[in-house]
């Protein structure tokens, strides 16, 4: 069995970090708040990776996001994936030059698959993370796009097939119904994935405590669990969650 991963997601909107509940955003704090309450710029942080998404509801300011990304990632020696509204190679390159190691795509999977092709050629498939936001509808999971404002006509299974044809290194799967609820991961969604999925899977949506993290990581189909719950893991919350998962027998790298 390979070592699993614990990932933290930061949702960014015009200079602020946000709490999301079913994709409705609430402002929590700025970079200074984040530094005081999490301090990702410390060696030996408790997470394997950080995902930073520009979910701005107003038109995005890419340059400003990248400047803040640089500040955020200074002295942070963990892998960073960034995205939100990536529509061009130049945009992706700017992210990679501002502290990101990987680029997250979402709407482009459906609207600009040719861009995803080019990004893969340019930066390698291992650099491309496909974010899939799913809504449950009559027992089916349907993919949405544009910060979940628009439904696609693809089921989760169809979307995975689209991703399989594209240079994509990871699937980052979120359940809109569970997003930000803290009620636990939507493990049922895993039954809607093809059995032979060979792309690493990050599951998120619903993590409220360390027990939920353990539940997700214990499932053999899940390679990583992510949480964007900005309030439940403040201070040493992430360290404690990690230690708890290790004590529960989950194979996570030991940073102590």
């Amino acid at each position: 069995m390979t070592t699993k991963r614990l990932i933290f997601t930061l949702l960014y909107d015009s200079g602020s970090f946000m709490l999301s509940r079913n994709f409705r955003l609430q402002r929590v704090g700025n970079l200074k708040w984040l530094e005081e309450n999490y301090g990702f710029g410390k060696v030996g942080s408790a997470i394997d990776e950080l995902i930073v998404l520009d979910v701005s509801r107003q038109p995005r300011n890419i340059e400003r996001f990248c400047e803040d990304l640089k500040l955020l990632t200074l002295d942070c020696f963990a892998p960073i994936a960034a995205g939100g509204g990536v529509r061009s190679v130049d945009h992706a390159r700017l992210l990679l030059r501002s502290g990101a190691d990987k680029v997250v795509v979402n709407s482009a999977i459906y609207d600009q698959p040719e861009l995803v092709e080019i990004l893969g050629k340019e930066f390698g498939a291992q650099c491309i993370v496909a974010s899939i936001d799913c809504e449950q509808n009559n027992g089916m999971f349907v993919a949405t796009k544009k910060n979940s404002f628009e439904m696609t006509n693809h089921t989760l299974a169809d979307t995975i097939k689209i991703c399989a044809r594209l240079p994509i290194g990871e699937i980052y799967l979120n359940s809109i119904a569970r997003d930000g609820t803290g009620n636990g991961l939507h493990l049922e969604i895993l039954d809607h994935l093809p059995a032979n999925l060979t792309t690493p899977l990050i599951l998120m949506g619903g993590v409220g405590n360390s027990k939920h993290i353990v539940e997700g990581l214990r499932d053999s189909r899940v390679d990583a669990v992510a949480t964007a719950n900005l309030l439940n893991f403040m201070g040493d919350g992430l360290s404690r969650a990690r230690r708890n998962a290790i004590n529960e027998g989950i194979d996570l790298a030991n940073f102590d």
Binding site: V43, K70, G124, Q126, N254
Partner: protein, 208 residues
């Protein structure tokens, strides 16, 4: 050029900021550059890497960065660290995106990760993996023999029985996690993304 200057080779594709940030954190002076003069006269070179082998080699050859690196190594006795794709580029060739020749600073070939058993493995190989290093390898000084480092790759360098020293890791197959051949070093893992262990490796290299 200042003693603590470290030239990070910019061929348009690396996670340059992360590498520069780690070098700076360790008290050295990162210079991100594609300038042939800066590269060829450097004492310490880092070849980072996020990207496709084929595309990287095309850029490196057309901009003559390969020649500048060669000059630094031979005329200037520089030391070089290739990271991730940067390590793979040190090799003889890769099958990523068709076949391409590498820099040929080591003879190892780069191929897609394959599972040697019936058990399928997920690709890319992502996450912290245990690395077993040859005890004589300078860049692992001060670390435990089975330390963990962060990997993210779909292709890997094959082990070749030659004069290089190796650290190995496993994912479906055994592959080169790090290599040392004279003044040429490479890590498949990202030292700049492997927290304390990674910074130690980077520091060991910079202090050589």
């Amino acid at each position: 050029m200042a003693d603590r200057a470290v030239v990070i080779v910019d061929y348009g594709m690396g996670n340059l900021w992360s590498v520069a940030s780690a070098v700076k954190h360790l008290g050295f002076e990162p210079i991100v550059s594609s300038d042939l003069e800066s590269i060829s006269t450097a004492d310490t070179l880092i070849l980072p890497g996020v990207g496709s082998f084929n595309r990287a080699m095309q850029t490196i050859r057309s901009s003559e960065i390969d020649k500048a690196i060669g000059e630094a190594l031979h005329a200037n006795e520089a030391k070089l660290l290739g990271i991730c794709l940067g390590m793979q580029l040190l090799g003889k060739s890769s099958t990523e995106d068709g076949f391409s020749d590498g820099l040929g600073l080591v003879d190892n070939e780069v191929k897609k990760i394959t599972s040697v058993s019936d058990q399928q493995v997920k690709i890319p190989n992502i996450g912290f993996r245990e690395v077993q290093a040859d005890e004589e390898m300078k860049i692992f000084g001060g670390l435990e023999t089975r330390s963990q480092f962060y990997f993210v790759h779909s292709f890997c360098m094959q082990i070749l029985d030659d004069r290089s020293k190796y650290a190995i890791a496993h994912h479906g197959q055994t592959f080169v996690a790090a290599i040392e051949s004279g003044r040429v070093f490479g890590t498949q893992f990202h030292p700049e993304k492997s927290q304390k262990n990674g910074l130690k490796v980077l520091q060991n290299f910079l202090n050589l």
